[in-house]
């Protein structure tokens, strides 16, 4: 691989509890700094709208009113994120579900305190709920509507507290990238925006050819397990390397909960990486594929035509044909 031949302006900060980095190629420092400010502003606005770890965020306020039937005025970002979550739940056959917040808190992964005036406590799922049916091994019933939305008035309500988690970060990457494109596109620049393991890149890379992204070792090793070429698009990873803890019953748990069981899912897998055109949907599918487990992931990924890489708990790396076409180097094959 050739060495970087173009000037790169790099910026780094923190957002949504993760490192936020921007690499800009082909722009003067002032222009790159303006692009960085655009990205930071978008992340700040999105975090204020969607972070359940902020007491004053829109999603925390909506969660506190969950189940009351009221529709509250919110930032348009939250409305769009809730609509995307609802759609993701349908497209992934319930593998993605924003309603896992109750289970996350039960397992000890709490965010902002939801108790307060108007808050209704998280209650067990009622009989007939599709997730209840799957937990008991029954036939899945049609999904119960949990989102009440008035898009024209930008007002939303939910029937139970929700967690936007990864899709919120993916959507924020998408929106920030759209703002960056306006700055970069006019000047012919390239950029890569990274937020806590997910990224989106496009335009000229520092070297000749596409952007090269390393897939980190989910076992914690210093070297990557593979590198992939990304001419333009997003890469997202769902991994259990972080956000692992011990539940109150003493059992180790992680944050990737299977909405169909309410428990940590994907046993037998350490990480799943998906490359696609959009960071939000790459994030949705990386998590959904992870929850499919080692036996179901290949079939689902191929059926969906996804470029996906996954690492089994024995360290083995597998990938779909679409992913193989993007792979430029594999540690195990070197």
């Amino acid at each position: 691989m050739s060495q970087p031949s173009r000037q790169v302006q790099a910026f780094e900060g923190r957002a949504m509890g993760s490192p936020l980095r921007l690499s800009v190629v082909g722009l003067a420092f002032e222009e790159a700094a303006e692009a960085w400010r655009e990205a930071v502003q978008e992340f700040e606005a999105a975090e204020q709208a969607m972070s359940r770890f902020r007491d004053t965020s829109d999603v925390t306020i909506v969660n506190r009113a969950a189940g009351s039937g009221s529709c509250l005025p919110v930032d348009r970002r939250l409305g769009r994120a809730l609509a995307a979550s609802d759609r993701a739940g349908r497209l992934t056959d319930g593998r993605f579900d924003a309603r896992v917040l109750g289970d996350l808190e039960r397992l000890g992964y709490a965010g902002a305190v939801l108790e307060g005036p108007g808050h209704l406590p998280v209650e067990p799922l009622p009989a007939g709920d599709d997730r209840t049916a799957r937990r008991t091994g029954g036939e899945a019933a049609p999904a119960r509507r949990w989102l009440i939305a008035d898009p024209r008035a930008s007002r939303v309500g939910v029937t139970c507290p929700i967690d936007l988690g990864g899709i919120g970060k993916g959507l924020t990457l998408r929106w920030a990238w759209h703002r960056l494109e306006r700055t970069l596109g006019a000047r012919g620049g390239g950029a890569m925006l990274e937020a806590g393991g997910d990224l989106v890149a496009g335009g000229p890379a520092p070297q000749e050819g596409p952007w090269v992204i390393a897939i980190e070792d989910p076992a914690g090793g210093a070297d990557p397990i593979a590198t992939v070429a990304v001419p333009e698009g997003a890469v997202a990873t769902s991994s259990i390397l972080v956000n692992r803890w011990t539940a109150a019953d003493g059992l180790p748990v992680h944050h990737l909960l299977d909405p169909r069981t309410g428990e940590p899912g994907g046993a037998g897998l350490l990480a799943v990486t998906v490359a696609g055109s959009d960071p939000a949907w790459s994030e949705v599918w990386s998590k959904s594929l992870f929850l499919s487990g080692p036996d179901g992931i290949a079939g689902l990924a191929r059926a969906r035509g996804l470029a996906a890489w996954w690492v089994r708990d024995d360290g083995g790396l597998e990938m779909t044909p679409a992913a193989r076409a993007r792979t430029t180097w594999v540690a195990a094959e070197a």
């Binding site: 090269v212 980190e216 991994s239």
Partner: protein, 149 residues
């Protein structure tokens, strides 16, 4: 003879002219009243005819609509006949497809029978690697991995 002449003059004097006058007046009055009644009846008939004119128009319109409906029914009947003929043709084709599927199923059964003889594992001869050196890890611009969510 003289008595006869006197008697004739008396009879002539007693002719009832007034009766003729009364009869004429009565006939005139009857004629006038009859003309009035006739005029009134004619006016009433004319009004009734005017009132009934919309109904007549509606009846004409319904009649025309009925004719159009009849024409459409005729066309629909023709289309139905055509669809029925096409359906019958499709049924015949389906029967042909079913026959071919039956033949295909027989072939698949034969293939499955042959496949049963194929060993589950094929041992390929080992190939020694002749690569001079492992490929070096390329420089990367970024990384994807564990995230906060």
């Amino acid at each position: 003879m003289a008595d006869g002449a006197r008697s004739a003059r008396r009879t002539e004097v007693r002719r009832p002219v007034h009766l003729a006058v009364v009869a004429g007046i009565s006939a005139g009055a009857y004629a006038v009243s009859l003309a009035g009644v006739t005029a009134l009846q004619a006016a009433g008939d004319r009004q009734l005819s005017e009132w009934n004119a919309p109904a007549g128009d509606a009846i004409s319109s319904i009649s025309a609509e009925h004719d159009r409906l009849d024409a459409r029914l005729t066309r629909a009947r023709a289309a139905y006949d055509s669809a029925a003929a096409a359906y019958a043709d499709a049924v015949e084709r389906m029967a042909g497809v079913e026959t071919r599927l039956g033949g295909l199923a027989g072939q698949v059964k034969k293939v499955e029978g042959s496949a049963a003889w194929v060993p589950p594992v094929v041992r390929l001869p080992s190939v020694s690697r002749s690569a001079a050196a492992p490929r070096a890890k390329p420089a990367s611009n970024g990384s994807t991995g564990a995230s906060g969510h």
